[in-house]
């Protein structure tokens, strides 16, 4: 090989090396950019750290593991929302079984409870807003509770059948046939009444029975909770709920940082991710600290009552003792702890 050829070859070799070097650098940059787009900070899924992905079901964690999981979440959410976010892990209180009662005579359909719930519980704000409480507007009918036990045929040849426990001439109960999307200028409207629906925290919850990964369960205080990290999004619980009171995050929740409530609970209002189910938890981040739920606090007419079913002096026990309380006509043996009543 001549000296010139050698030089040329060396030159080519250097160029090739340089080329590889540059190509490598460019590829690395492209790969880094691609990777960063995969784990973009707005992607809740990608933010989930390795440890979080492989953590145990919350119910089965030791106290130490719970603390670690909570610390991880606090750090992640604080970074994400740019404020100090606390994730509480307060367990159920002793000798407390929560119950809720709603006076449908008093409810004026203002939906303050709905919006207060959204704010308190960090629900998705738009596209669409996820609401745990929905209010159905219904036309006032001719139902009168005083007629409940009437309706037996007065004469033997009367052309009406016997309807035990109801009235053969009138509806025997409140049939839920209304609309959610009412937009009146003012409430309450004449000839309308309102029926808010949310999770009934059933004593024997069918949603818990069907969950294939046991991520939803009933805590000792009667609240049915969800460990969002274990939810696989199969929606079995939604189908099992007699009230369809659960909500599914089809997309990433839209929760602006400035609207985020930083006081959260692991099993309650901490920010959720796409593909998981959520629902009312009786604001356990508040109620397990002796406070009322946000919907009870905000109700302008005092239609909502909340308390301990084990305490005979609680508001909810007084309602059960003294008021006319409703149950679903077709009893599904779920024993809800959310009651509708009238004075």
């Amino acid at each position: 090989m001549s000296a010139e050829e050698k030089k040329e070859t060396e030159g080519t070799d250097i160029n090739r090396r340089q080329f590889f070097k540059e190509a490598g650098a460019i590829s690395a940059a492209v790969a880094a950019a691609a990777a960063s787009s995969v784990i973009a900070p707005q992607e809740a899924e990608a933010r989930t750290t390795f440890a979080e992905m492989f953590q145990k079901n919350y119910r089965l964690m030791t106290e130490e593991e719970k603390k670690e999981a909570i610390a991880r979440l606090e750090q992640r959410h604080s970074e994400e929302y740019g404020k100090k976010v606390t994730v509480d892990g307060t367990p159920a209180m002793k000798d407390v079984l929560f119950g809720y009662a709603l006076n449908i005579q008093k409810c004026i359909g203002c939906r303050r409870c709905v919006h207060s719930c959204v704010r308190e519980n960090n629900q998705s704000r738009h596209d669409p807003e996820i609401q745990w409480i929905r209010v159905i507007r219904m036309e006032k009918g001719n139902f009168s509770v005083d007629d409940m036990d009437k309706g037996y045929p007065a004469k033997a040849n009367e052309p009406y059948g016997i309807q035990v426990g109801g009235n053969a001439y009138k509806n025997s109960g409140v049939a839920l046939e209304g609309q959610h999307y009412y937009q009146p200028e003012t409430v309450p409207e004449k000839d309308a009444f309102y029926f808010p629906i949310q999770c009934h925290q059933c004593e024997k919850p069918p949603c818990v029975k069907v969950c294939p990964v046991r991520t939803t369960y009933r805590d000792p205080d009667g609240i049915v909770v969800i460990d969002y990290n274990w939810c696989i999004g199969c929606r079995m619980c939604m189908g099992a709920c007699p009230y369809w009171a659960r909500r599914f995050n089809w997309g990433d929740p839209n929760l602006p940082a400035e609207e985020m409530n930083p006081k959260t609970h692991y099993l309650g209002n901490r920010p959720r991710m796409r593909g998981v189910v959520e629902k009312c938890t009786f604001c356990l981040q508040r109620t397990r600290k002796g406070r009322y739920t946000s919907c009870v606090e905000v109700c302008p007419v005092g239609a909502r009552k909340f308390g301990n079913l084990l305490d005979p002096n609680s508001e909810v026990r007084k309602v059960l003792d003294r008021k006319k309380v409703f149950r679903l006509k077709a009893d599904m043996n779920t024993y809800p702890k959310f009651f509708y009543f009238i004075d």
């Binding site: 787009s37 996820i130 049939a175 629906i197 004593e203 909500r247 997309g251 059960l320 006509k329």
Partner: protein
């Protein structure tokens, strides 16, 4: 000596070639995987919001359907007492 050099040169070139090929392949595979993942992720995240709205709306309609057939009746005093007793018993059992 010259022969040795040549042999060594050939050997080196061979080693260099395989190393280069390996690096080349690794880089290509790396870039391909990263870009495919990024594209797939982007495509998935750009799923039309309308489809999502439709999905949320379907859930709402489902709740309407479920609740439409429901009928509430007044509980008798006995029913209320039995239910309350059941709650208390259940609580004591779990405690």
């Amino acid at each position: 000596m010259a022969d040795e050099k040549d042999i060594a040169g050939i050997k080196n070139e061979g080693a260099d070639f395989s190393r280069r090929a390996f690096i080349k392949k690794t880089l290509l595979v790396g870039v391909a995987v990263a870009s495919t993942t990024a594209v797939a992720k982007k495509v998935a995240s750009v799923t039309p919001r309308q489809d999502l709205r439709g999905a949320y709306l379907n859930d709402d309609i489902q709740q309407d359907k479920v609740m439409k057939g429901k009928e509430y009746v007044v509980m008798s005093r006995e029913e209320k007492e039995q239910m309350l007793q059941m709650f208390v018993n259940d609580y004591n059992k779990q405690a």
